[in-house]
Symmetry: C2
Subunit: 153 residues, 2 copies
């Protein structure tokens, strides 16, 4: 299975967008991620539909965060991506006739559901602002923007 890095990637560019304070183009974000602008647009489309970001066409256009960073949780971003499958493992057959397999599914399924609930709860409890606060090193401009509060550009 190739491993889904959309959440990781989108969080990365969202923080750069907050840092920038002005519209960031798909091309620039593709640069941050070492990927293609089309991949960025495709993935950002979910966040736009969820109201987390807005996009503007033309000169000076690009993407901006549509809410205060303290009001966007990692869980919001995860949901906006369509709540992609969290686990790489799982039950072979979700509706087996075999009683033994049903027992295995129940046991394994319960464990995974618990872990999923934990992850989703944690993600909803961390905001972009929280992550921004943990960015180390001389990011003065970043801290300036954050300390002044978010301006809805």
């Amino acid at each position: 299975m190739r491993f889904d890095t959309r959440l990781s990637g989108m969080l990365h560019v969202l923080l750069h967008m907050v840092e920038s304070g002005k519209p960031v183009t798909s091309e620039a974000m593709a640069g941050y991620l070492g990927t293609n602008a089309v991949v960025v647009r495709r993935t950002m489309a979910g966040l736009r539909d969820a109201g987390l970001v807005r996009s503007e066409k033309g000169h000076g256009g690009g993407w901006v965060v549509a809410r205060a960073p303290s009001d966007v949780s990692l869980g919001d971003v995860y949901s906006a991506l369509g709540s992609p499958t969290l686990f790489a493992i799982g039950n072979r057959n979700e509706n087996p006739n075999c009683l033994v397999e049903k027992a295995v599914n129940a046991s394994l399924g319960e464990t995974l559901r618990e872990a999923e609930a934990l992850v989703v709860a944690r993600l909803h409890n961390i905001s972009l602002a929280d992550v921004a606060d943990t960015v180390g090193g001389g990011m003065e401009e970043f801290k300036r923007v954050m300390s002044k509060g978010f301006k809805d550009v």
Copy 2:
């Protein structure tokens, strides 16, 4: 990504092996799983190397569980499979230069590590015997074998 069902599949056949009380062929297990005997052998190889099962060639051969079902945890089986990747999501780049990406990795990584630890702990806390106890419906032979304790065939 195609989703890893080896743990689920192996637990299923292990319980059938316990139920049977005699060697079960790869062919029979492939029947339980709706798959191919070679897939079963390939996957069971890890459990054999970990000492959880033994295999015998020739007439009357097949696979047997090498320990008491109460002494084999789901975590043991997971480890024997090589502790396959648990999550379908993760960080894009584990060793970024970008400070923003480092902050994202730390935040997301911590959440996933916590959930992974929870899953592994839970799996180590459930034995094959525990799962067997939850098998519902008229599995008299199964219960008989379990109540008599495990015979090292």
